[in-house]
């Protein structure tokens, strides 16, 4: 091989490396960009008058007088629609035979689509479900609903060898020559007048209760539940982890015990998270909390609870905390310890007054990182703590009640909800909140560590 080939191979290898580094950066960007952009849509969006009505009726927020004026204006703009529909209904009544049946069906479809867009017709009884009580709360969803009203989506199966082809035809074709024909010109022209969209910044998305399968309202229960679970996990994991690290570094005499314990720590770190979930179910719920002491005397429930979820998550993050704390304690200069011992302090006193304060920033870094890990884990809490719907328990019943949690609700909303398409913005918003929370914790940890290393260097 001559020199140029060797050089090219060298460059090829280098570029492969740079390619994979760039790939990671690009992946991160590709992953985060849609989540950030579309997640922001949960906070900043064009709110229709229907959402303002909902917010006033359910949460009691908003200016009543201004809202009344607005609703009256919107009703004025909507009146021609209802008039046209009424006229057409009378027209259909005069038809006969097959055409009448056909047109009745068509009319019913249009009426239902109108109800979806604008809410119930005036004078109709008040529906039970909030989603049918109000029209579309968001302008982007209203535009989709309007599109479905204006065009008919059909599939063409004429070629049996191919999958059905989507065919879009304007709905107005079906109503040519009838009194409803005008409606399809009126709707797009006056949609904004009927729904009055306005840009809003809805930070209440974080603090509102969800209403009707998350179509309205926010994600407060899931957020609070995640905070409970994470903090709970830390309450159990931090003391255990830090004490283990202290023991490993300062107390364990023989290196055999240290390496044995360390092997078990890394084994624990390698256990798949779903296995933690099953273990939580089999041990905490089906065995430990089934005991008379826990169940009857302490009143801990045998079904999913925040307590069981926190314990399971604590086991999951234990290795991370142990490793971080061990590293931090090892990094404390030996002279500190020797000085304390030479002053006559006992070993424990040295640990508590000298070594722990000196290694605190490092330990905190580990704690923050494992908080991020605990907040984002789903599999361990599926069977031990999480429910899709429901309220967050109060602080006094954390040992008796399950809770919604962000990761589990994300799964639920995007694969088991009844209105998956309708609440895409909620799903993205939730993912954004979760990822934001975790990244915030991690950035804090990175900054903290940078400060420590600067301190150590300088």
């Amino acid at each position: 091989m001559d020199m140029s080939s060797r050089k090219i191979l060298d460059r090829g290898f280098t570029s492969l490396g740079i390619f994979s580094v760039v790939l990671m950066a690009v992946t991160l960007a590709v992953l985060l960009t849609p989540i950030i952009i579309r997640g922001a849509g949960a906070f900043v969006f064009r709110e229709t008058v229907e959402n303002r009505r909902f917010t006033f009726d359910v949460f009691g927020r908003g200016d009543e007088a201004a809202l009344e004026v607005e609703v009256a204006d919107a009703a004025k703009a909507r009146q021609p629609v209802y008039d046209m529909v009424a006229e057409f209904r009378a027209e259909v009544g005069q038809m006969s035979g097959r055409r009448k049946r056909d047109m009745q069906g068509q009319l019913r479809t249009v009426e239902n689509l109108l109800r979806e867009l604008l809410g119930p017709f005036p004078g109709e009884p008040r529906p039970v479900m909030p989603r049918s009580r109000y029209g579309k709360p968001r302008w982007d969803r209203a535009e989709v609903a309007l599109g479905r009203l204006l065009t008919v989506e059909d599939y063409d199966y004429s070629d049996p060898t191919q999958l059905g082809k989507k065919v879009l035809t304007p709905r107005v074709e079906k109503f040519r020559g009838t009194k409803l024909e005008e409606l399809f010109d009126y709707l797009p022209a006056h949609a904004e007048a009927m729904l009055r969209p306005e840009w809003t910044l809805n930070w209440r998305f974080l603090t509102d209760e969800p209403v009707d399968a998350n179509i309205f309202g926010g994600i407060w229960p899931a957020l609070l539940g995640t905070i409970y679970l994470t903090v709970g996990a830390m309450l159990f994991a931090v003391p255990m982890g830090v004490v283990t690290a202290i023991y490993l570094v300062e107390y364990a005499g023989s290196s055999r015990i240290v390496s044995l314990l360390r092997t078990f720590v890394s084994t624990l770190a390698g256990v798949p998270s779903i296995v933690f979930g099953l273990f939580g179910l089999a041990f905490f719920l089906n065995t430990l909390f089934d005991l008379h002491l826990f169940n009857q005397v302490l009143g801990i429930s045998r079904s999913k609870t925040v307590l069981a979820g926190s314990l399971t998550l604590a086991l999951l993050v234990l290795p991370t905390i142990i490793r971080a704390a061990e590293e931090a304690i090892r990094a404390v200069p030996h002279s500190y310890k020797e000085a304390a011992l030479s002053l006559g302090a006992t070993r424990w006193r040295t640990v508590v007054t000298v070594i722990l304060p000196a290694s605190l920033p490092g330990i905190l870094t580990g704690i923050i990182i494992s908080m991020g890990r605990a907040a984002g884990e789903t599999a361990p809490i599926i069977f031990t703590a999480a429910v899709a719907l429901g309220k967050v328990p109060s602080l006094t019943e954390l040992h008796q009640q399950p809770t919604p949690a962000l990761p589990w609700n994300i799964y639920n909303l995007c694969s088991e909800n009844q209105a998956i398409e309708e609440i895409r913005h909620v799903q993205y918003g939730m993912v954004l909140v979760l990822v934001g929370l975790v990244l915030l914790l991690n950035v804090a940890a990175i900054l903290l560590r940078a400060r420590i290393s600067r301190k150590l260097r300088g």
Partner: protein
């Protein structure tokens, strides 16, 4: 005044008593010290206890299944119908196969890329860029798995379903063209070295042209085939393998970077002094020296993909059958983790129900494999350190 005098006397008394311990006091201190030590040991062995308890309880709930149904059905039958009322079947072969398939695909993608990226980080990129890339890797590692699952389900799945063929063809071209250029250059050089010096240049160009032609034809043919491919379901093994691979990348990168830095400067400098290029130094000297560490990195990365639940549950399609033909990764699959997550909620969660225990049997499989892998990885890591220690001496 009075307060001052009392504190003064207390200090004096304390000083008198503390300087010299009586025998009783030192005995009490000794006992307390021992007790404290014992207590610390008990708390410190929490991780040990946790591991033992996890094994004990998973085994306890898995054993009744094997006692009820035996081993052979679980491992040899591909029919998984646990909820059938009259004749439930518990053949997990298809699920085991799918799990292995998804893990292997993810590994094939993540291990080479991760190791090369680690090499790049440790030897190629300047320090300033490294400082930027490391936090990126950390952030990638921190993103919750459910967010990756969401990405796979909501963004990748429609992409595959609607433009699957074109996406694959685009990826083929993006990877294929640079590879083709390098292969052409190097092969033409090697092949033309057989010719006489005078004719070498001409021979090289002809060989290069022929090689490039063959490869372009191959690319066009494969690209055409791929772009005419219709992916019926966007939730398939390829989709999750990609995402799992990305999730495992940070693990592979950080572990192998540690191994590569442990190799030390002397070996590298020796190799450069002998006239090797950077790639040759890395491939022939540094990577073999860090071999066991790189193995450990690969194993740990594969384990990350192996134990993942949410991504596969959300985006793998959840169909418990072996793809036909078996290597067809464009078909929906279902893994052990997804089965456990999906079915545990539906089963009767009581002791004695076969379905409940069958899921624990799956968990036991997961646990054993991850335990063995972990052990192997640890062994490899220790070996690297030992070797490097010897080299340093």
């Amino acid at each position: 005044m009075e307060v001052q005098s009392t504190t003064g006397s207390r200090v004096r008394r304390r000083a008198e008593t503390k300087l010299c311990l009586s025998r009783r006091q030192s005995l009490v201190r000794g006992i307390l010290g021992r007790l404290g030590h014992g207590l610390l040991f008990v708390m410190a062995s929490s991780s040990l206890l946790a591991v033992l308890f996890i094994f004990a309880f998973i085994i306890r709930d898995a054993v009744p299944f094997f006692r009820l149904r035996g081993f052979s059905e679980f491992f040899t039958s591909p029919h998984w119908h646990p909820a059938s009322a009259d004749s439930p079947e518990f053949g997990a072969l298809a699920i085991l196969f799918d799990h292995a398939l998804v893990t292997l695909c993810a590994a094939m993608f993540t291990v080479p890329l991760g190791i090369v990226a680690a090499v790049c980080l440790s030897d190629v990129l300047p320090f300033a860029i490294r400082q930027i890339v490391k936090p990126i890797i950390e952030i990638l590692a921190a993103i919750p798995s459910v967010a990756f699952g969401f990405f796979a389900l909501v963004i990748l799945t429609p992409l595959f379903q609607n433009h699957g063929g074109n996406v694959l063809a685009g990826a083929l071209w993006a990877v294929g063209v640079p590879v083709m250029l390098i292969v052409t250059w190097v092969l033409s050089d090697i092949l033309s070295s057989k010719f006489k010096v005078g004719a070498r240049k001409a021979a090289r160009w002809t060989v290069a042209a022929v090689l490039a032609g063959i490869q372009v034809a191959l690319l066009v043919y494969l690209g055409g085939k791929l772009s005419s491919l219709v992916i019926v379901s966007g939730t398939n093994a390829l989709n999750v393998s990609l995402v799992l691979g990305i999730m495992a990348l940070p693990t592979v990168v950080s572990v192998s970077e540690d191994a590569l830095t442990a190799v030390g400067r002397e070996l590298r400098e020796g190799s450069y002094a002998l006239g090797a290029t950077r790639a040759e130094t890395l491939v022939k000297v540094v990577m073999p020296a860090a071999g066991s560490g790189l193995f450990a990195a690969a194993i740990l990365g594969i384990m990350r993909a192996f134990g993942e639940t949410m991504v596969v549950w959300m985006a793998a399609g959840n169909s418990a059958r072996i793809p036909s033909p078996w290597y067809n990764i464009l078909q929906p699959v279902r893994t052990l983790t997804a089965t456990i997550a999906g079915e545990m909620g539906e089963t009767d969660q009581t002791y004695g129900a076969a379905h409940y225990h069958s899921l624990f049997a799956m968990a036991l499989c997961l646990l054993i494999v991850s335990f063995l892998c972990n052990f192997a990885a640890e062994w490899f890591v220790r070996r690297t350190h030992k070797r490097m220690g010897k080299l340093a001496k």
